[in-house]
Structures are given as structure tokens and as C-alpha cells.
């Protein structure tokens, strides 16, 4: 018996020389722990082996009482569990193979024997033999049925159960005859039996799934041989059942099935073929993926050729069938999207691509189609469409609001226009009616006293003429203001215009004791302007300044170039000049500052209003600044008025500067 790594070997040899040599060799390898017992006779050897404690037999092939081969046979037969290593006199390969075939574990030649190789050979022989036996046991175990059921007559049921641990003890459980439902040792024979198809007398090695009492599943290879004797008088059947798979394999199979099922249920594409015969549909084959998309199995489609056209959504059917007709008649490949009614009643959207297939004669024999489930895409599309529609509504609402706003804006502008017309009317009334009143009175005087004194008469006529002039100038200014005049623009440096304007009112300035200080930037770029119009603006502003300084003062005029800022280009609505100052573009600035009374804050916003005046009747018509603004607007510029920090007011005019000439 093996104790740890040591080996108990039994040497069968009649040759003292051989025995001595082997003992010497093994004694020289004490770590190998191989003990050698010897016997000269085969009978003695059998006794020692059956007594136990022999791991291995070393057989000297040259035995006198028979051939070594005979002894080998006897040993293999009577002590199959003990490996045999044969020692031969000559190294003969043919003989060695022969011996191995007859069950020898190894064959060693006496002449080449050597300590280490002998030890290794014996050890290998033992291990090899052990492994072979293990293998054989496993093989045999696989062949042993787990259960044998014998069915006799109607009720008789006998079951031989071989549980794995019982296989070698061969405990036999016998179910009592006449009581098939009775349980013996926890085995339900009736349940076992019901797993066999009773109607089928013959089951040739079928794998049957069986539910175990603990809820698990066992797969059994079941063989039910035909009953012996006359089939017409069946007296019983028997079944041999054997577990076919180990539990992990079952789990694997299940997992595979589940995965396959999942795969099949989640496929979004499948292929189908419609076979044609003489222009008519002969058969339809749908790939297994059809189950996931349509809910119908390939078999259902095969047995019911019109099923396919029936499950097309009624609203799409005409279109789909027309496409198919085109395909059949003209060979036009189809690529359409339509709805299907699934077996569950739900609607699936599919893309259906069809390609015709022809035989060598050009006859249509079939068409192949690819069905792709696009339901999700369609849902997304519909959601997108809905979102888009909503967005469109929102946009159209916005546009509508914008239009309403514009309309309101226009109304506002209109109202403002009406307001300015009202203001205009009132202004005109006041400015014209006053001279008219003078005229009226003058005429009355002339009527009343045709022969009055000439001096009074002259005074009256002078007053009347002056009144008529005033009325006329109001009307003319108004015409200037309202006419969309074309400006005769030329490239002019504003410094020149300022000089001209100053020249025009030079006498007035002197009379009013107003000093003018100019600070005009040299090398200013030109502006496109009508000199007389800008002159008019400057005269207006200078006159205003003069009026603001009844006791004289100083007017400072400055010109310079600056880049138009955001605050410089504020446009008023209704400005349709099309030319205006843009942010970041150079502008020529004219600044007119006086040392006058300044402007009350509440009046500042109205300074450019038509007929807005702070002056006494006859001195200001409320036209000057309004007309000036109009003129500057026409030049695409900007005019502002403010109170100067140190007192007095400051008027700033910006005009777009021309690019420098090369």
C-alpha cells in the first residue's frame, strides 16, 4: 500500500543476479523510498498481492515455469489493480510493444538498468496506472444508468435508482408493485414515469427535461426500448434513464437559450423571401427574427401565405401592395416604410426593402426583403414632428406678436405724428395769427381814416408789412421743414462752413456784444454736406445762443474728429434717411457752447420739437432747432443739446466723416 510517496514493489524473478542488481540499484537511491520484496514464483506473488501492500510488480520476463507473457496475462487478470513493469534481458522494441499491449506499464532492459532511471520508471508506472484506472472508472460511471424503471402491466412499476454515491454500493430501491405513486426513499416514481411519453413505446436516447422535487431541473438521456414480445399484447415497458448533463452544463444551456431568446426577441431586422411561380406568390419564408417584430412565428407565415398582407396596417396596405405589384411587374426594387399590426395588436413601423431575384431566363422567381423595425425611430420622429409643430406655432405666435407690436408701434408713430400735426397747427396758428391780427387792425385803421396823417399811416403800413413778412417766413420755414429736399451735397470741411456762418451773423454778434472763440481742428476730413443747409443750422444755433445771452457773452466753437460711440448713433424711429452714423466710424464733431442762461431740465427733451419755443412771440417760432435737426438727420448726422457743466448750453453736431483722400 502506498504510504506517502513510498512504493512497495514486488519483484518476481528466479535470477539471483537480477534480484541482487535491482536491490543494489534501489538501495543506492534511498530517497526514492522504494522497498522491494522478492518472490521466485508466480503463485507466491499472487498471495502477496492479494494480502495487500503491493503497489507494483516488477516481473522478470525470463521465468522457468512458463513464459513471462503468460505470467503477465495472469497478473493482469487476477490482480488488475496492480501495475506491472516488465524487465527483459535484451532491449527489443518489438517485444516491448507487445508487452505494453498486453498490459505492462513499462518495459525495462536489464543491460541498461541504472538507479535513477529505474526509480523514475517505477514511479511513472505507478502514477500512470493510477491515472488510467481513474479514467476508466469515470468512463464506466458515465455508462451506469441513474435509474431503471420497469413498468409491468397497468400498475406495476419497479424502479432501480442508482444515485451517484450508490453506484458502487448498488443499493436498489424497489417501488412496491400496484402503487406507482408510492415514494421510496424520496423518489416519486410516478413523476419519473410521466416524463416518459407513455404513448410512444419506443424512445431511443431522448433527452428529457425533468423537474426535480427541489424545483431544479435535470436533463436525462432516456432510452425506452420496445417491449419484448408481441406489440399487440403490450405487457409493459421499461425505461433506462441517465442524467445527461451536469448541472453547470444545464445552466449553460439555459443561459445560451435565454441569450438566444433575448437575441431573437430583440432583433430589429430580419430577412424574408417570397417565392413566385407563374407570377403568383407560391410561398413565403420569414426569418426567425419575424417573431420579435411581428409576433408571428416563421411557421405561421409559412402555413398562412396571406398572413403577411393581412397584418399590413389597413391604411398602408394599398400602398404596400402597389409597391409589391410594381416589383413583380417591373422589377422596381422597393424601399418603403409602413405599419404592421403585430400579433399583440400593437402597431410596429417597419422599413421594408425588397429586391427581385431572377432565374437565368430573366423570369422573376422570388423577391427577397429586409424588414427593419423602425418603430422607435418613428416615435422619435413623431415626437420631433410634434415638437417642431409646437415650435412652429410658437414662432408663428412670435411673428404675430411682432406684427402686432409693429402695428402698435406704427399706431404710436401715427399718434405721435398726429400730435405733432396738432402741435404744428397750434404753432402755425399762433405764429401766423399774430401777424394776421396786426394786418387786420392795420386794414381797419386804413379803412377808418383814409385821410389820416401820413406819419401814422406810414407807421401802420410798416407794421403791416413786417407782420406780412413774419407770416410768410413762418410758412416758408414750414415748407423747408416738411419738404423732403434733395441735398446738393459736396465734400466740404466744416471749418469753412463755420467761418461762413459766422460771417453771416457777424453784425448781429457785434451788436449783442457776443464774443466768438473758435478752436477748429486742422486737417479735418471732409464731410458730404450742403453748405447752405449746415450754415442755416449754425446760424440757428448761434442765434439761439445770442438770445440766451441778452447781456452779451462768449460763444466757443470747437471742431474735432472722433470715433462714433454707441451713444452717438441712437436713431429715432421714423428715420428713413438710410444714411446715418455707425458705431466705430469716424465723425466730425462741431461743438457750440455759450455762456448763457442754459436750459431748464424739463425743457431739454422738447428742444427739437416743432414750434417749441421759450422765446417771446415774434422772436422765436419754435422752428429753428426742429429744422436744424431735420437738416442734420438728412446728412446722416446727429445733433444734441445739453447744459454745459460750467453754465450755458452746448450743442453738439456729429457728421459722418469721409475717408481720407489718397
Amino acid at each position: 500500500m502506498t504510504r506517502g510517496n513510498s512504493i512497495e514493489a514486488l519483484l518476481i524473478s528466479e535470477n539471483a543476479e537480477t534480484v541482487k542488481r535491482i536491490r543494489q540499484l534501489l538501495a543506492a537511491e534511498p530517497e526514492a523510498k522504494i522497498a522491494v520484496g522478492t518472490t521466485a514464483r508466480f503463485t507466491g506473488a499472487l498471495e502477496r498481492i492479494s494480502a495487500g501492500g503491493v503497489d507494483l510488480v516488477l516481473l522478470d520476463f525470463d521465468l522457468s515455469e512458463g513464459t513471462g507473457l503468460g505470467v503477465l496475462h495472469q497478473l493482469r487478470e487476477r490482480a488488475p489493480g496492480t501495475p506491472v513493469v516488465v524487465v527483459v534481458r535484451v532491449d527489443d522494441t518489438e517485444l516491448a510493444i507487445e508487452l505494453l499491449r498486453h498490459g505492462a506499464q513499462d518495459v525495462l532492459a536489464k543491460g541498461t538498468l541504472e538507479g535513477k532511471s529505474l526509480v523514475r520508471a517505477l514511479r511513472f508506472a505507478k502514477e500512470r496506472d493510477h491515472a488510467e484506472r481513474q479514467q476508466q472508472i469515470t468512463l464506466h460511471m458515465g455508462d451506469i444508468p441513474d435509474c431503471i424503471i420497469l413498468h409491468e402491466g397497468k400498475d406495476g412499476l419497479t424502479k432501480l435508482v442508482l444515485s451517484p454515491d450508490q453506484r458502487f454500493k448498488l443499493d436498489i430501491l424497489i417501488a412496491p408493485p400496484g402503487n406507482p405513486a408510492a415514494e421510496v426513499s424520496g423518489h416519486d416514481f410516478a413523476a419519473d414515469w410521466s416524463a416518459v411519453i407513455p404513448a410512444d413505446p419506443c424512445v431511443p436516447g431522448q433527452v428529457i427535461e425533468q423537474l426535480l422535487p427541489d424545483g431544479g431541473i435535470s436533463w436525462n438521456l432516456v432510452t425506452k426500448p420496445p417491449p419484448p414480445g408481441d406489440a399487440a399484447r403490450v405487457v409493459g415497458t421499461f425505461r433506462i434513464s441517465q442524467e445527461a448533463t451536469d448541472p453547470s452544463a444545464v445552466a449553460e444551456v439555459h443561459e445560451m437559450e435565454e441569450r438566444y431568446g433575448r437575441l431573437l426577441n430583440s432583433v430589429s431586422d430580419y430577412v424574408y423571401t417570397v417565392t413566385m411561380q407563374e407570377g403568383r406568390v407560391a410561398s413565403t419564408d420569414h426569418g426567425p427574427g419575424c417573431r420579435a417584430i411581428t409576433g408571428y412565428s416563421p411557421e405561421e407565415f409559412k402555413t398562412d401565405p396571406s398572413l403577411w398582407s393581412r397584418i399590413i396596417h389597413p391604411e398602408d396596405r394599398e400602398m404596400v401592395l402597389a409597391k409589391v405589384q410594381q416589383l413583380i411587374q417591373w422589377g422596381v426594387p422597393g424601399d418603403i416604410e409602413h405599419r404592421l399590426l403585430k400579433k399583440s395588436g400593437r402597431i410596429a413601423w417597419v422599413r421594408n426593402k425588397q429586391v427581385p431575384r431572377y432565374d437565368s431566363n430573366g423570369r422573376l422567381i422570388a423577391y427577397d426583403g429586409l424588414i427593419s423595425d423602425i418603430t422607435e425611430r418613428k416615435i422619435t420622429e413623431e415626437l420631433l414632428f410634434a415638437a417642431n409643430t409646437h415650435l412652429k406655432d410658437v414662432v408663428s405666435d412670435l411673428v404675430k406678436s411682432q406684427e402686432e407690436l409693429n402695428a402698435a408701434h406704427l399706431q404710436l408713430i401715427q399718434a405721435e405724428k398726429l400730435q405733432s400735426v396738432g402741435r404744428l397747427a397750434a404753432g402755425v396758428a399762433h405764429e401766423v395769427k399774430n401777424p394776421m391780427a396786426i394786418l387786420q387792425m392795420g386794414i381797419q385803421y386804413l379803412v377808418d381814416s383814409p385821410v389820416g396823417d401820413d406819419q401814422t399811416r406810414d407807421t401802420v403800413l410798416h407794421e403791416m408789412r413786417s407782420a406780412a413778412d413774419r407770416a410768410n417766413s413762418v410758412i416758408e420755414n414750414l415748407q423747408n421743414f416738411s419738404s423732403a429736399r434733395e441735398l446738393a451735397n459736396r465734400a466740404v470741411v466744416v471749418n469753412q462752413v463755420i467761418a461762413d456762418a459766422l460771417q453771416l451773423i457777424r453784425i448781429d454778434l457785434t451788436k449783442r456784444k457776443v464774443e466768438v472763440v473758435t478752436e477748429l481742428a486742422p486737417n479735418l476730413p471732409t464731410c458730404n454736406l450742403e453748405s447752405t443747409a449746415i450754415e442755416q443750422v449754425l446760424v440757428n444755433i448761434l442765434t439761439n445762443s445770442c438770445h440766451a445771452m441778452p447781456n452779451g457773452g462768449t460763444i466757443s466753437i470747437r471742431t474735432f474728429l472722433r470715433i462714433a460711440a454707441e451713444t452717438d448713433v441712437e436713431r429715432t424711429h421714423g428715420d428713413r434717411s438710410g444714411r446715418f452714423l455707425r458705431v466705430g466710424e469716424p465723425a466730425v464733431v462741431m461743438e457750440v457752447r455759450d455762456t448763457g442762461t442754459g436750459i431748464p431740465t424739463e425743457q431739454l427733451p422738447h428742444m427739437f420739437d416743432l414750434f417749441y419755443t421759450t422765446k417771446e412771440t415774434g422772436k422765436g417760432q419754435g422752428l429753428g432747432l426742429a429744422v436744424s435737426k431735420r437738416i442734420i438727420d438728412l446728412h446722416g448726422g446727429r445733433i444734441t443739446i445739453a447744459n454745459a457743466p460750467g453754465g450755458g448750453s452746448v450743442v453738439t453736431i456729429l457728421l459722418p466723416a469721409n475717408p481720407p483722400t489718397v
Binding site: 397750434a426 396758428a429 387792425m441 381797419q444 401802420v460 421759450t614 412771440t617 415774434g618
Partner: protein, 121 residues
């Protein structure tokens, strides 16, 4: 019979001058500076005041209120004579702040009619 005294207040000297020439039947005093009106009126003691409305420094409405505050002037009738109303509006029945109102330009007859209507007896 003593001429009725009329104080004409208007910043337009041309107008007041002509009015004086046209209405010799009344004793007319011109005043072109609204700030001087109270002093002039206290001095002149008019039987009626013709008052312009749109004037620099003080408008006719404010001036009328000031006149009514003066104990010696409060009973002097005031007639507005202004270009800011139309003749249709001011046919003699329209009033501003309780005072009758005439529109410029006005005829001599209309003016006399109105003055006589409001002159105290």
C-alpha cells in the same frame, strides 16, 4: 361822457399800437411787458383789460389770476385776446378761467361788441 379806459396787454407792440389807433373811442393804455401789468393797471385804473395769453415770462392766465388777487383790480373785467384759439371757439361765449375770450385776428366791430358787453355800466 368820459371815455372808457381799456388796458391792452400784449408782448407785440405793433399790435397794441394798431389797436389803439383803431379804437379811438376808448382811452387805451398799451402794456407790452407782462411783468409791468399790475403796476400799470393800478396806475391806469382800467374799466376793462384785454389780455394776450402767450407771452414770455408770464402767460395771460397767470396774469389774470394775479389781477384778480389785487383788491383794487379784482372787479375789472378781463377779456382774453389770443391767437391760440380759433375764431369758431372764441365767438365771445367761450371762456378761459371764467374770462371771455376773443380769437386773433379780430375785427374792430367784434372787438367793440365784446368790450361793450363786458364793460361795467
Amino acid at each position: 361822457m368820459k371815455k372808457k379806459r381799456i388796458l391792452v396787454v400784449d408782448d407785440e407792440a405793433g399790435f397794441t399800437h394798431l389797436l389803439k389807433l383803431v379804437l379811438p373811442i376808448y382811452e387805451i393804455r398799451e402794456e407790452n411787458n407782462p411783468m409791468q401789468v399790475i403796476a400799470t393797471a393800478l396806475d391806469f385804473k382800467p374799466d376793462l383789460i384785454l389780455l394776450d395769453i402767450i407771452m414770455p415770462e408770464m402767460d395771460g392766465g397767470t396774469l389774470a389770476a394775479k389781477i384778480k388777487e389785487e383788491p383794487l383790480l379784482r372787479f375789472v373785467p378781463i377779456v382774453f385776446l389770443t391767437a391760440i384759439v380759433s375764431s369758431k371757439e372764441a365767438d365771445g361765449r367761450k371762456t378761459i378761467d371764467g374770462h371771455p375770450c376773443l380769437a386773433k385776428p379780430v375785427t374792430k366791430d367784434k372787438l367793440i361788441e365784446c368790450i361793450n358787453q363786458y364793460l361795467p355800466d
